[in-house]
């Protein structure tokens, strides 16, 4: 059964349920793959071999006892290291949390465990989810399974690379400005950002509270929807969690898989088509996909969202401002790294030395930008102004959704780039999230689905839907997948 690792999560769930394989067998195969390839990919920061095997055995025992389990029971999953896992190290890719073992599970981790999924370990990421290449991980970069000299996207490069390397059939990502979708696009996998508030942030180490959204990563749209259904839904421990039922994402994915988009109206964001910086190969693959969508019955219209061009600068004021406050708690007093506690230095000096040593360059850059943007005398010009533009971008979305069911665009302007190509110039790195950021500012759901190759590397198409209409994006993405097919990376 060496082909188990190539199967989808839905298939694995069915095989386990039918008794044709066991959770233990499936878990072992994935752990074997991890030990075989992760030395080259470095998708994982921590692999929990014992915990995974024990969880798999427990699922098999429950099934043997006749318990009725969900469709993902026994299916292995990798969790981005920014989500707390009780008893498993959680670092958010930062030195400042090296060795910290959370005493509690994030809400979504509780739900994963309740659903019987088997947590394999924690995946690599840009420090505190700040970056688009996973090169800002304090523990070294992750490498793209399509080409190990290239980046796997970020910040959730580990979660997406683990899928492309067949180390896990499912993974959890978090998306603040594109950290699920852009890695999905450049690794040829699926990544969905649910509606903000649709998935609980309790236990997600905060980067930018008003933008952070945990979501599913998978190799197929249906798998992403199945995982979405497990982790979504109201959580009283997160005040911003929406007390509304989860839209029928799995049913929508199955509907989309039939390949019929008759009556569905999709908007092409005009401003994204004219934006500079998108590679010709990406544009070509995207247009070919739009052709396919038309053939499936979708009506395509061009929509103007004039304020989307301000999304990037708006994001780079709001996100750093919130992060400058959120990351204040990492001071060496209660947990994680502590530097300079020699009985001579003052408390303030110990805090300062700890943060100096514990944070990497991109995190420091954003803390400084955010501190400045919130400071007295500058608040109105920066943070206050950014919030106003955020409202305008939201209005653009609302106006667009009066005319169309969903908006589509390339997920990211360029395919996976070479490691080191953009670290010297932060603003060139920031461009990776040009198309993904508007949805975060608005709060609506968006998904990246593979739509073809450019120079042999995956290209993603993004579907953006209205808030709480997550099902719509799954239908469109699944329909596209049904005609284009999933992408198969080269053997490692």
């Amino acid at each position: 059964m060496s082909s188990l690792i190539k199967k989808t999560a839905a298939e694995l769930g069915e095989l386990i349920a039918a008794g044709q394989t066991s959770a233990l067998e499936v878990t072992r195969e994935h752990l074997d793959q991890i030990s075989k390839v992760d030395g080259r990919v470095h998708a994982f920061l921590h692999v929990d071999v014992e915990g995974a095997l024990a969880a798999a055995k427990a699922v098999d025992a429950r099934r043997a006892a006749g318990e009725k389990l969900g469709p993902l029971a026994g299916v292995p999953i990798a969790v981005k290291d920014v989500v707390t896992t009780k008893g498993l190290p959680t670092t958010a890719g930062s030195k400042i949390l090296e060795g910290w073992v959370p005493p509690y599970d994030a809400t979504l981790v509780e739900r994963l465990k309740d659903a019987g999924t088997v947590i394999l370990g924690k995946t690599n990421m840009d420090e505190f989810a700040m970056g688009s290449s996973t090169e800002y991980s304090a523990y070294g970069p992750t490498f793209n399974p399509w080409d190990l000299t290239r980046i796997p996207g970020g910040s959730g490069g580990g979660s997406s690379a683990a899928l492309a390397a067949y180390e896990a059939p499912l993974s959890i990502g978090t998306d603040t400005g594109g950290s699920i979708r852009q890695p999905g696009a450049v690794t040829g996998t699926v990544g969905a950002k649910p509606t903000y508030g649709g998935t609980s942030r309790y236990g997600l180490i905060a980067f930018s509270s008003s933008l952070d959204t945990p979501g599913p990563c998978a190799r197929t749209v249906l798998d992403a929807a199945l995982l979405h259904e497990v982790i979504a839904g109201h959580d009283p421990r997160d005040s911003t969690s929406i007390p509304a039922p989860v839209s029928p994402v799995v049913a929508a994915a199955r509907q989309g898989m039939s390949g019929d988009l008759t009556g569905v109206k999709l908007g092409l964001v005009k401003e994204f088509m004219s934006a500079e910086g998108a590679e010709p190969g990406v544009v070509a693959a995207f247009h070919a996909a739009v052709e396919s969508l038309t053939k499936l019955g979708a009506e395509i219209v061009e929509i103007s969202c004039p304020n989307f061009v301000y999304a990037l600068p708006t994001y780079y004021l709001i996100a750093p401002s919130e992060c400058s406050s959120n990351l204040a708690r990492f001071d060496g007093v209660r947990y994680g790294l502590r530097v300079g506690d020699n009985g001579v230095n003052s408390l303030e000096e110990v805090m300062s030395l700890t943060r100096e040593a514990g944070f990497g360059p991109e995190v420091k850059r954003r803390i400084m930008v955010g501190t400045y943007a919130l400071s007295s005398g500058y608040y109105d010009a920066y943070y206050g102004q950014a919030q106003k533009v955020r409202t305008l971008i939201t209005r653009d979305f609302q106006a667009a959704f009066e005319k169309v069911d969903a908006l589509i665009s390339p997920t990211t302007p360029f395919v996976a780039f070479q490691l080191g190509a953009r670290t010297a110039d932060p603003s060139s790195m920031y461009l990776a999230d040009l198309y993904t950021i508007p949805s975060n500012l608005y709060g609506g759901p968006a998904i990246s689905v593979p739509c073809g190759l450019s120079e042999g590397l995956p290209v993603g198409l993004q579907v953006m839907a209205p808030t709480l209409a997550d099902d719509r994006m799954y239908r469109v993405a699944a329909a596209l997948e049904s005609t284009i097919g999933t992408l198969t990376p080269p053997e490692l």
Partner: protein, 491 residues
């Protein structure tokens, strides 16, 4: 320069910021208990320790308590308001920001009337807002307990996240020499209001009510002066002393042509003086911004009206009502208030006693015992029902004053109800006239000259004979009855 001279030449402007720990069962943003005095760091969780990933959820009871306070202080209640983050680094603040409210307080524009020397002063309330308390830091190893010279700093996070309400007055002007008393009267009145609402135990000595006092001076007709903020004012008396000492200190500087520095000052109970804290020029920029982890607070109007309808009678209104009903002078009413006896006396009257009878015992024997032992009146083990029974026994003539005192003594020793004590100690007034007449005859025989004086019309001399009779009967006679019998006999 006397204080009187100073307030002739300068007009004080004061302002008060009061922090009140709410008496909610759980903390402001998590479900940890709030009991005072637990072992360090036993009332903590991921949220109030600010572990990575933890999120706050607002305590609905705290919101309700805050609205109660706002309504009691005649405030408007916001239809929509937000929490804000106040960012600064401090080791006993787990998140290194405090969740507070900034430009959108839950309650605003109210007032509280207070009485000072028979004059009513209206203190305008700027705002009432919600925030969370910090932990407590202890510095070990130094000689002073302060951070200088300490080798270790220990932090107890039990208090971190306890709901805190900040009540801010508008500047109070025109109180002249009375400014220190007005400040004290305001805090006292506020404390009574909060206690009456049942939202806090308002114990200044435990820090559940804390006060910062702003003071400035200006010459009549001129603009307000630079203010200082005095912190660490932890008793009613200190509020008054702190304002007075700041008025005197500032006037000294102004008289010498100096300028007041805008700064935080610390009040010292021992010296009654303030010393300089940090200067506002170097103050932290708190970088306030709306708390993104919490949704706005939007109390429904119906709910606010429901809370308003359920508010208890305000202390000042109640005080005036009871004073009138009990027929007391302002001075006597103040004594009752100071003794903390209002509720007890009222309950005793409800249990059937006359207001004079109820007040006599609570303010007399029982208050004396309370003073001697330092116990609160309501902690003596004597209930209003107990006192009401005592009063009815004395009113019925079954106990005279002396016997009643003995009953109280026994009651304080836990010997039971007045009836039980009388039975056990055989303390009933002797009403057997035969026995009394015998004792009176004996007393007359022993004091012939006194008897002669009475016969001669000097009724005042009867006291000697009454005393002798009381002695023979062991005090168990009714003095009035004895007096009547003596006068009858010696007519």
């Amino acid at each position: 320069m006397t204080y009187a001279d100073i307030v002739e030449r300068y007009e004080p402007v004061i302002g008060l910021e009061t922090h009140v720990e709410l008496g909610t069962r759980t903390k402001m943003f998590c479900s940890c208990p709030t009991e005072f005095g637990a072992e360090p760091n036993t009332q903590v969780c991921p949220v109030c320790l600010a572990l990575p990933g933890a999120l706050p959820v607002v305590n609905a009871v705290a919101i309700e308590s805050t609205i109660k306070i706002g309504l009691a202080l005649n405030c408007s209640i916001a239809e929509w308001c937000r929490f804000a983050r106040k960012n600064y680094f401090y080791p006993d603040m787990p998140k290194n920001f405090q969740i507070s409210q900034y430009d959108e307080p839950l309650c605003f524009d109210g007032y509280l009337d207070v009485e000072v020397d028979g004059r009513t002063v209206r203190i305008e309330i700027e705002r009432v807002h919600m925030e969370e308390d910090t932990g407590k830091t202890m510095h070990i190893g130094g000689s002073t307990g302060r951070i200088q010279g300490a080798t270790e700093s220990l932090v107890d996070y039990n208090r971190a996240g306890i709901p805190l309400i900040e009540i801010v007055t508008k500047p109070v002007t025109g109180t002249g020499a009375m400014a220190p008393e007005v400040a004290k009267a305001y805090v006292a009145e506020l404390r009574d209001v909060l206690r009456g609402l049942g939202v806090s135990d308002v114990r200044m000595e435990q820090g559940s009510l804390r006060c910062d006092v702003n003071t400035s001076l200006n010459k009549p007709g001129e603009e307000w002066g630079t203010r200082t903020e005095t912190k660490n004012v932890n008793s009613l008396r200190s509020v008054e002393r702190a304002v007075r000492s700041e008025i005197i200190r500032q006037s000294g500087i102004l008289d010498d042509g100096g300028k007041i520095t805008q700064e935080t000052r610390h009040f010292h109970e021992d010296t009654g003086q303030t010393t300089s804290g940090r200067s506002k020029e170097t103050a932290t920029d708190y970088r306030y911004f709306p708390e993104p982890d919490l949704v706005p607070v939007t109390p429904a109007r119906e709910w606010v009206e429901e809370i308003r309808a359920g508010l208890p009678e305000m202390p000042r209104v109640r005080r005036l009502r009871l004073r009138e009903a009990w027929g007391l002078s302002e001075h006597d009413m103040q004594s009752v208030l100071n003794a903390g006896a209002v509720d007890l006396i009222e309950a005793t009257i409800v249990a059937g006693a006359s207001s004079e009878g109820a007040r006599k015992w609570w303010m007399g024997e029982l208050a004396r015992r309370s003073n001697e032992t330092g116990q609160e009146l309501d902690a003596l083990g004597i209930t209003p029902q107990w006192v009401a029974e005592l009063v009815s026994l004395t009113d019925a003539g079954k106990l005279n004053d002396k016997l009643a005192r003995q009953v109280v003594e026994a009651g304080l020793n836990g010997e039971g109800t007045p009836g039980e004590i009388m039975a056990a100690r055989k303390l009933e007034v002797v009403s057997d006239t035969g026995a009394l007449l015998e004792a009176i005859d004996a007393a007359i025989a022993a004091n012939p000259d006194v008897a002669e004086k009475i016969r001669g019309g000097n009724q005042g001399a009867a006291g000697v004979l009454i005393g002798a009779v009381m002695k023979t009967t062991g005090g168990q006679a009714d003095a009035k009855t004895v007096r009547g019998l003596i006068l009858e006999k010696l007519k």
